[in-house]
Subunit: 95 residues, 5 copies
C-alpha cells in the first residue's frame, strides 16, 4: 500500500455506468516523513475521506476487494484513513 494525502477531487459525468456513485479523489503520494512527492494517483474513495487527510491506498486487483469497487474498472482505492505512523520510534504523522 502507499501513503498519500487527499488533495482534490475529480468530477466525471460520462463514465462506465458501474462507476456511478463512486467518488474519485486526487491523492498526492508522500514519503516516509510525510512530505509531498511529485507522484499522485486518482483513487476511488471507499472511506469517505476528506481533503487533507492522510490515507492508505491499494492498487491493482486489490483495489477491487471492497464492496464499493468489486468488479468495477477501478485500479486504486482508499481503504484506510491514517491516524498516525512512526519510523524508528519517531512519530512522522499524527492526524
Amino acid at each position: 500500500m502507499n501513503l498519500g494525502k487527499v488533495v482534490g477531487t475529480v468530477v466525471s459525468t460520462r463514465k462506465e455506468s458501474v462507476l456511478d456513485g463512486i467518488r474519485f479523489l486526487l491523492v498526492r503520494l508522500v514519503d516516509a516523513d510525510g512530505r509531498d512527492t511529485s507522484s499522485f494517483v486518482v483513487s476511488a474513495d471507499a472511506m469517505g475521506a476528506g481533503v487533507g487527510e492522510m490515507v492508505l491506498t491499494a492498487a491493482g486487483s486489490s483495489a477491487r476487494q471492497t464492496s464499493m469497487t468489486q468488479n468495477r474498472p477501478v485500479d486504486n482505492v482508499i481503504m484506510a484513513i491514517v491516524d498516525t505512523w512512526e519510523v524508528g520510534g519517531e512519530t512522522k504523522y499524527t492526524k
Copy 2:
C-alpha cells in the same frame, strides 16, 4: 487511475480477433496541474473519447472490468471522461 489527455489513435488490422472493434487511443499522461508529462499509454476506448479530451484510465486486470474489454488481452482502458478536477480548492482543468 491516471489522468491523461487523448492525443492520437493507433491502427492495427492484424491483431487478436477478440480485439476487433476496440479503438486504441494514445493517451498522454498529465500531472496534477494538467500539464503534459513525457509518459503515455495506449488505452482501449470504452467511452467514445475524442482527441483532446481529458480521461481517466484504469490499468491491469481492472482494465478488463468493462463489457468491451472483458476477457480480452487489454491492460489499459479509458473508463471515464473528465469534466473537471481541482487541487487545494483551485480548479486545474475544466472541459
Copy 3:
C-alpha cells in the same frame, strides 16, 4: 498497452513445459514519436510478429488472455501488429 519494436529473439530449451512452442521476442519500447527508448521487455508472440515490426504489448494478467498464453507463466504478450499511429493529426509511424 505499450508501443514497441521487435528487435530480437530469446531462445530457451529448459523452461516450464507449458511454454513449449511459444516464441519469446525482445521488444524495444518506443516513445510517442516512434523513437527507441532504453526500455525493453521480453514478450510472448501471439501474432507471428517479425523483427522490425511495431507491435502493441499487453502486460500482467492481461497477457494471459490469448489462447496461446492462457494459464501460462507469461506476463507480456504481443497482441497486435501496428499499421500506423498518429499524434495531433500527424502520422508518427506507418508500416
Copy 4:
C-alpha cells in the same frame, strides 16, 4: 519479491472492516547489498515481523495469497523473514 527492512508502523482505526486485526508495517526497500534505498512500501504483516527485521514482500494479487490477506484490499504482504542472503558467494546480510 522485494527485500526490505521493517522501519515503522502505520495506525488506522477508520478502515475497511475486513482489515481489522491486520498490522500495517512500513518497509524500507534495500538494495542487493542491504543498504537502504529511498523507496518504501506499507505492507500487511502476515509473519509477526518486528522493527529492524529484514523481510521479503510480495506485491499485487500475490499479496492476497495468505490466510490473513485473502479477499482483502491489500496489495503488499510480508510473507517471509529473511535469515541471510548472499551475492556472488559473499554474505550480504545475516540476521
Copy 5:
C-alpha cells in the same frame, strides 16, 4: 518477462508454510546487451537455476502459473533458463 542473471540466494526459515521447499534466488536484471543493471528482484526458482545462469522471470499473477507457485504468495518466478538471445542479428548472450 525480464532477462536477468542469478547472482545469489535468500534464506528464510520463518515464512508462510506454503512456501516451504521453494528456493528464493536473487536475480540481477540485465539490459538488452546482457550488461548488469542496478535493478534486482527476488524470484522463486521453478527451474533449478544456478548462480550465473541467465533466466527469464515472470511477475505478478503470472508468477503463480507454475505448479510450484500456484496459490502461493509469490510475485516473481524463474520460468525459463536462457540459452541465447540476439538483437538485430547480433548474438548478445550465449550460455
